[in-house]
Subunit: 173 residues, 3 copies
């Protein structure tokens, strides 16, 4: 049994949740792995991002989101409203602001000291609900997702554009 992995780099726009159809990247990694049968693990290493399996839809809204993405946003927004002001959620607290401000790379998390950069509680909770990893089948050297299945990476963070990493790990023979 062997293991093969790659990282793909994604750039979110940060206005609304950013959805990436990463199916072609996953298929390419499986092909390069030369693994014929096994599993393919897709992992977000960010706590405001998720990986999920969904149909590709041919209609888009004004943000460029596919219709199922818009519907998902609407459902999640009802139960986890956008974090637009301090005090709306408990997170982030004063001690957390202080801790983040003391990190060597504080500028990445609080650019120009802008406290609103941490107002992404909604993104944290949404990604907890959807989960940070998903596993797919590798069958006869191909991603086993049927005709209508696609793999999406979503960054729920709306505070600003972010550089995101997604790990694709193939295990098998």
């Amino acid at each position: 049994m062997t293991i093969y992995k790659e990282q793909i780099n994604l750039k979110s726009h940060g206005k609304t949740p950013t959805f990436f159809n990463i199916t072609d990247s996953v298929k390419e990694v499986i092909q390069k792995s030369k693994i014929q049968g096994g599993i393919c693990v897709v992992i977000s290493s960010h706590t405001t991002c998720s990986v999920f399996f969904e149909e590709f839809v041919h209609d888009y809204n004004e943000n460029g989101n596919e219709f199922l993405q818009t519907d998902l946003n609407n459902v999640l927004q009802k139960i986890i409203p956008d974090n637009i002001a301090e005090g709306q959620y408990n997170y982030p607290g004063e001690k957390h602001y202080e801790a983040v401000a003391s990190w060597p790379n504080a500028e990445s998390y609080l650019p120009n000291g802008d406290r609103s950069a941490l107002l992404n509680c909604d993104a944290h909770l949404k990604s907890t609900l959807l989960g940070s990893s998903e596993i797919f089948e590798v069958d006869e050297g191909k991603l086993g997702v049927g005709t209508t299945g696609y793999i999406y990476f979503v960054d729920f963070d709306r505070t600003r554009p972010r550089d995101r990493k997604c790990k694709i790990i193939v295990l098998g023979e």
Copy 2:
């Protein structure tokens, strides 16, 4: 380390979400794999289906659903109401209807051209929330789920009966 996999085939009834207790099938695949220690991955390759881990309940409602399944349906129904009419959700849009109608196997998705066969936005969103895969332990040749744990496959699609596939993949030694 070796890998062993099987596919199980399931038929949903399509009236309400269809729940399948697949625990015995998973145990059988682990036994046939002869793998003593490792992991067992259970995967839905359909975008309206999920795999989850839950207690088996001895009481059923009038649909044959176990009580925790009925309670799960009620909770999900509150946040993601059944998709009963066009326009209720964005999905499916006109371009998606056109695309699906042009597929070689269009009849599987739009039987007799019935547009209501795509009114399963609720099923897509529910399965995104629950996820398409779950991993279990294989310990001393057995499924490591404790006394009360069972594995369920659910098809949330209520539009019609469907043939569904579930992949069970065992990795270990």
Copy 3:
């Protein structure tokens, strides 16, 4: 490719959902495994518990919950209210009470015959939403979670303190 696993034992307090930051345990298991590249699977074998990936927050509420945990509890409570009385949910039904009472280890589930010990429907549904397993990357012998990512085990059961097991399985080379 090799496989290495350990079990960690946790004790929930049973008043509100109990959250455990298990990141250091996971890192320790990876180190002991000597595996340099691969995956680390973290699994709950209890049907009221989940594993999830989240930021560590430096602020706590009066229960000792980090602020993102409090916010998660609030969101989940809105859609899945605490199970405080029989009849609020379908679960647990009379046949389930009878079945559990007949188990050899009935005392673990119905201590002193207390029926309220099964009033944990909310915990079952919450853990179904969050899922029972999560996968992480092992990269250069280390847990691949970035600067702000931590791994949490949660027991949503509020009926009483429970002994819980979490499985950590590392696969790789």
